[in-house]
């Protein structure tokens, strides 16, 4: 194990209780690993779990570096950095935070029109700082897998999924953000509170990301996802490095696209889409606002914790200075109470963040993906229209050629027209397909959103209840001490 670069490996503990036989048995990690794992892999094989669509959508899916994916550009993965000795995972620090960050999701993936339901529980745990190479897996039972993955692996997975599914209307959950500042601190080997918190934040974010991805019935069956979850060794995500130039390309195209979007005036025949787009715009604004307020709450709660700790120390000193014995003791007790309350505030701040704030942050990012699929629909429409216009032109040209004596050119024109007619038909089919997909996706997304919020908000409120109940305990214990002053 060399130490040429520092990075964190995350263990994926993957437990699948599958009532769907198809899922477990059809997965063949070994063979998949042997096969081509470039981004050229197709989507899921035809299977009956995909409900009413007879066509294999992905038969024609070609690899395109998605020029117009609205997701955030994937930056360079961890590049070369100075040699670092691995540190032992600071598990003792992780634990109190983990109360709110581990295993939040226990989803039951509901059947969609006759599919099977199954439970999946993914936990991302035990971040280990290791060198370049991955260590061996541990395979538990048949239904349980544990694999090690790098952060860049997660980004690589998302990049693949985005390029495959976004442009046909699927809402692909965005991967967690890279944080150059946070990562640098960790790489330099700073083992302090903030870098531990950074690791925990990232671990929690990755867990939620994966859970959201596998909750999606289509993505769950994607071979890249399966490989990611099960394969003992993933090839180093080369693409994330290559993406730096592709990423640059994307940035340029994004700008161009922004201009294009303004000029696409789509004839919206379907009011549903307009309504939904507006709805998501509004939702985005409100969620961002709410997110800001909650971030402020987290900040102030942390401040309160710090101030309480400082006051506790000060009260202790005052108690030492106090020459009246009983009052001196009461002041010391007060200092102790405040110290305990400080810890309460710290815990509450974690709940504020990991439950409430991160929920909102995740949805703000998800909405970006949602808005993206709407954009793709517009572009699909535009493509179809462009083909139509071109066909029209060709027909006019052919008509003109009828009067000239150029049989070769005429034939060529007729051939081109036939080809274009095919394209136009395809364009229309694509447009109808993406519209249908988006309708389904939006419906699924909204249901998930509501459920998600409810579950997590209830958990958050329960954390607030716990804090208040502890406060009662502490002050009730202090009260007799105060009364004892005489």
């Amino acid at each position: 194990m060399t130490h040429t670069a520092g990075t964190f490996l995350f263990s994926l503990f993957f437990l699948c209780l599958a009532s769907s036989v198809e899922y477990v048995e059809s997965s063949q990690p070994a063979s998949l690993a042997a096969e081509d794992i470039s981004t050229n892999s197709n989507g899921p094989k035809q299977d009956s779990l995909f409900d009413d669509d007879p066509e294999d959508l992905f038969a024609e899916a070609t690899e395109e570096v998605s020029l117009d994916s609205p997701e955030r550009d994937v930056l360079l993965s961890d590049g070369p950095s100075p040699a670092i000795t691995p540190i032992t995972p600071p598990t003792s620090v992780i634990t109190p935070l983990a109360k709110y960050t581990k295993c939040i999701f226990f989803p039951v993936i509901e059947e969609e029109e006759g599919g099977d339901s199954f439970d999946i529980h993914i936990s991302v745990s035990d971040p280990e700082k290791v060198g370049e190479y991955m260590t061996s897996i541990s395979l538990f039972k048949r239904n349980e897998f544990a694999v090690k993955r790098r952060f860049s692996d997660f980004l690589g997975l998302h990049s693949k999924l985005a390029s495959k599914y976004l442009h046909i209307g699927y809402i692909v959950p965005p991967a967690p953000e890279k944080s150059i500042v946070g990562m640098t601190k960790v790489k330099v080997g700073k083992e302090d509170q903030s870098s531990n918190e950074f690791v925990e934040k990232r671990r929690s974010a990755l867990e939620r990301y994966l859970m959201r991805t596998v909750k999606h019935p289509i993505l769950l069956k994607d071979p890249d996802v399966l490989q990611f979850l099960e394969s003992s060794e993933l090839p180093r995500a080369v693409s994330t490095q290559a993406l730096s130039s592709a990423g640059l390309l994307r940035m340029v195209n994004k700008a161009a696209d922004a201009v294009n979007k303004m000029t696409i005036k789509m004839n919206e025949s379907d009011a549903w889409f307009e309504e939904k787009q507006q709805h998501f715009e509004n939702l985005d604004v409100q969620l961002r606002k709410l997110h800001t307020s909650v971030e402020s709450l987290v900040c102030h709660r942390k401040e309160l914790s710090v101030n309480t700790a400082q006051f506790a120390k000060s009260a202790a000193m005052l108690g030492n200075s106090e020459d009246h014995t009983a009052l001196s003791r009461a002041l010391s007790q007060l200092a102790e109470v405040e110290e305990k309350i400080d810890q309460l505030h710290q815990d509450q701040a974690n709940a504020d963040f990991y439950l409430f704030s991160e929920l909102l942050g995740d949805y703000v990012r998800l909405l970006t993906a949602v808005k993206g699929v709407f954009d793709h629909r517009m572009k699909t429409w535009q493509k179809w229209q462009d083909s139509q216009m071109l066909l029209q032109k060709k027909r006019e040209a052919e008509a003109k050629l009828q009067f000239t004596n150029k049989p070769d050119k005429l034939q060529q024109a007729k051939d081109e027209i036939k080809e274009l007619e095919g394209k136009v038909q395809q364009g229309e089919r694509d447009f109808e397909q993406i519209s249908k997909t988006i309708r389904k996706e939006v419906s699924r997304f909204e249901k998930e959103r509501v459920k998600d919020f409810k579950t997590i908000i209830i958990k958050y409120l329960e954390s607030l209840v716990q804090t208040q109940q502890q406060l009662i305990k502490y002050w009730e214990a202090f009260l007799p001490e105060a009364k004892a002053i005489s």
Binding site: H279, N282, L283, Q286, L287, K289, L290, S293, V294, S296, L297, H300, R301, E303, L304, N307, T308, Q310, F311, S314, A315, M317, L318, N320, S321, E322, D323, H324, A326, L327, A330, L334, E446, V450, F453, K454, I457, I458, L461, E462, L464, V465, Q468, Q469, L471, I472, W475, E476, F478, L479, A482, K483, I485, S486
Partner: protein, 391 residues
């Protein structure tokens, strides 16, 4: 209620022969006009029941004249009430006005209400602290008989003319002297009395500790307030989300918004109760300790005077010149010093008793209020959780 506000100092205003309170006050562009109401059975006053309007500067004048009075050198002069300070809510109101465009109307209204409550709290605090100052005087066996105190209570004309004259008379000389004669003076003097030696050590140390505690308590309270304000914004945004929501989720969002609105009121009360019972308590006794320290300064000066008079007497004896004057001077210095020491001892002892009683009362009340608010919060939260789960 006004009763709880007065609890930084207890056992005041029980003597029916002289009862003082500030039943109301007016705030006109940052100038506060206090109505000082006196009820008395003492014949030294012209009427048994009367009120006068007073400004903050009048209180300061009264305090300063008491400090300057040599006869009171051996007493702890109750600390002067601090100037009414509306800067904090005023600045916040200003910022709120600037940020109005970023909030919904409802949000803005709530924030404004919060600030108005803050104004009111500052106002109540300043009334309380001025009232306590007068009540400390009225309950003191010596100070209650002070003539300037009587003038302050009774004189039905504007005191500002009198104030100007007094300033010219004293020029703040004594007060400035005490202020500049810092710890060096006290610690430099050789202490002959164990009691005062202990008191000196204790008061100097305690003062710096309680000053620190006051500042830290204030920071704690402010953080609480900030959290309550955050809840306002959260509640408002949830409300907007509810308004836009056309699904069954609408009700959940409304319940949640309502919860945070109620919750923030409780948090606000936690903050203000902590402010009154803890921060204000510490702040008051910090100032009281300073007043006790001033007493020690004055005694130390008297001791220094006495020692100087001894030296002068020795010198006079050496020169065989002006001996009787020197002897008389020395005798006077000693008398003054002894009087100061005797009175000072009494004052400092009763001060400790007063402090202990006040701390006890406030700690009990603070703990009880914290428990009450926490129980309230639990009920609110659990109610909302039930509603959400049942939907």
């Amino acid at each position: 209620s006004s009763k709880t506000l007065r609890s930084v100092s207890v056992d005041l205003n029980h003597d029916a022969s002289l009862l003082i309170d500030i039943p109301d006050a007016l705030c006109e562009r940052d100038k506060v006009k206090f109505t000082v109401h006196t009820k008395t059975t003492l014949s030294s006053f012209q009427k048994p029941d009367f009120s006068v309007p007073r400004q903050h500067e009048d209180f300061i004048w009264l305090h300063d004249t008491l400090v300057e009075t040599e006869d009171y050198a051996g007493l702890i002069i109750p600390p002067a009430p601090p100037k009414p300070d509306f800067d904090s809510p005023r600045d916040k109101m200003h910022k709120l006005g600037e940020g109005e465009a970023t909030m919904t109307k409802e949000e803005y209204t709530k924030m404004k209400q919060e600030l108005e409550a803050e104004y009111l709290a500052v106002f109540k605090k300043t009334v309380q602290v001025h009232e306590i100052f007068l009540q400390r005087l009225s309950s003191h066996p010596v100070l209650s008989k002070d003539r300037n105190f009587q003038i302050f209570l009774e004189y039905d004309q504007d005191l500002s003319v009198r104030r100007k004259n007094a300033k010219e008379m004293f020029g703040g000389f004594f007060k400035n002297m005490v202020k500049s004669a810092d710890e060096v003076l006290i610690s430099g003097v050789k202490e002959v009395d164990d009691f005062f030696e202990q008191e000196k050590t204790f008061l100097l140390d305690y003062y710096s500790k309680i000053k620190d505690s006051t500042a830290k308590a204030e920071k704690m309270t402010r953080a609480h307030k900030n959290i309550a304000d955050d809840y306002i914004h959260i509640s408002a945004t949830l409300n907007s989300l509810a308004a836009d929501d056309m699904t069954a989720n609408k009700k959940n969002l409304e319940k949640l918004s309502d919860l945070f609105e109620k919750f923030r009121k409780v948090e606000g009360r936690v903050a203000s109760d902590q402010d009154l019972k803890l921060t204000e308590l510490l702040r008051y006794y910090m100032r009281d300790i300073q007043a006790a320290k001033d007493l020690l300064y004055r005694r130390a000066r008297a001791l220094a005077d006495y020692e100087n008079s001894n030296k002068a007497l020795d010198k006079a004896r050496l020169k065989s010149k002006d001996i009787p004057q020197a002897e008389e001077h020395q005798r006077q210095c000693l008398q003054k010093f002894d009087k100061l020491s005797e009175s000072g001892k009494k004052e400092l002892t009763s001060f400790k008793g007063r402090r202990v009683v006040a701390f006890r009362k406030n700690f009990i009340e603070m703990a009880e209020l914290e428990i009450k608010h926490a129980k309230n919060s639990v009920a609110l939260l659990q109610g909302c959780i039930e509603l959400l789960k049942s939907n």
